[in-house]
């Protein structure tokens, strides 16, 4: 690194310390190791480019379908939104009673799932699966 400092840029003790650090010599194997990595990189075949031209019709169709679905959802949603009134959000006692069996249905489904998992485990141990 630089040894003779410019007096016009000298900022006291900082410049000689940070400006004149001496030079680090790269290790003897640095060049060879770097070139080996470069050669390895060069030897790797270039990735096959994505066939955009072939995929384009499919992409257009998918985008069109998603767009159409979005428009339909918005149209139906807006139409229904007009019918919704905030008073409907308050659950009446009758509605609450109607939802009660839903808990039992959920519990029954959970029991079914557990018994299915238990059966799977047993079958697995018996060597059937």
């Amino acid at each position: 690194m630089k040894s003779n400092l410019n007096p016009h840029t000298d900022h006291g003790a900082i410049d000689p310390i940070l400006g004149d650090e001496g030079e680090l010599i790269p290790s003897s194997g640095f060049l060879a190791a770097t070139m080996e990595r470069v050669r390895d990189e060069a030897a790797v075949p270039k990735p096959i480019p994505f066939p955009w031209l072939r995929a384009l019709p499919g992409i257009v169709v998918v985008v069109a379908i998603i767009g159409w679905c979005g428009c339909e959802l918005a149209r139906v949603g807006l139409a229904n939104a007009r019918e919704i009134s905030f008073t409907q959000l308050h659950l009446t006692a009758a509605t609450g009673r109607a939802l009660e069996p839903a808990g039992w249905v959920a519990a029954a489904l959970a029991v079914s799932l557990l018994s299915w998992l238990f059966a799977q485990r047993l079958a697995g141990r018996s060597g059937l699966l």
């Binding site: 630089k2 840029t9 000298d10 006291g12 003790a13 940070l18 640095f30 060049l31």
Partner: protein, 202 residues
């Protein structure tokens, strides 16, 4: 040093590489390995890591050689690319450093072995550069790497010179606050011939 490097040789090697001659890149590595390893060293102060980071920078340069638009010199492009690589490498795995206020206090000048004490003191200041906040650390690192050339440092960082000067001044100020003896030593110098540049940089 970078300025003495042959731009023609760089250009010729780059053209050969782009024409498919992989081996021509060896010339580029041979000419720039010293500067890039030294630059990386100033970023992390770890020799092994500096070589790894420099190697990564060469690899990125190899991959992006076609992206050198030749508006700037090859060295400017390479240093800017290397600075980006070193910056992101240090974001992923920061250099082991301590907060600036915890940086080792330099040994006093009254020590018996004055040479050793001086070296320890200098090393403490150099180590403290790594403890500077990132926005001030990089201008300090690159300014001294580029032999105190603000324009070269700003090109490498891709920032306006004014911004680099301001950050450099703030970085120096933080170092002086941490190591007051630097201000004491600099006082006689600052009062004599250094007015013009000092005003620009501070």
């Amino acid at each position: 040093m970078p300025a003495a490097m042959s731009a023609e040789e760089d250009l010729a090697d780059v053209n050969r590489v782009l024409a498919g001659e992989v081996q021509a890149f060896e010339g580029v590595v041979r000419r720039w390995q010293g500067p890039l390893v030294n630059m990386a060293w100033r970023y992390c102060r770890d020799r092994g890591r500096a070589e790894e980071m420099a190697q990564e920078a060469f690899l990125r340069a190899w991959r992006g050689l076609a992206g050198w638009r030749r508006e700037s010199s090859f060295s400017t492009w390479l240093f800017a690319l290397a600075a980006n690589v070193f910056r992101s490498e240090l974001l992923r795995f920061p250099a082991v450093n301590v907060p600036l206020e915890d940086a080792a206090e330099p040994t006093g000048p009254a020590t018996q072995h004055e040479g050793l004490a001086r070296k320890q003191s200098d090393d403490a200041v150099r180590g403290a550069v790594l403890a500077l906040p990132t926005r001030y650390r990089e201008p300090v690192v690159l300014y001294y790497f580029h032999e105190m050339d603000v324009a070269a440092a700003s090109r490498t960082m891709g920032l306006p010179e004014g911004t680099v000067k301001a950050r450099l001044a703030r970085g120096r100020e933080l170092l002086r606050k941490r190591f007051p003896h630097l201000s004491e030593q600099s006082a006689p110098l600052l009062s004599s011939t250094l007015r013009p540049e000092k005003e620009v940089l501070e």
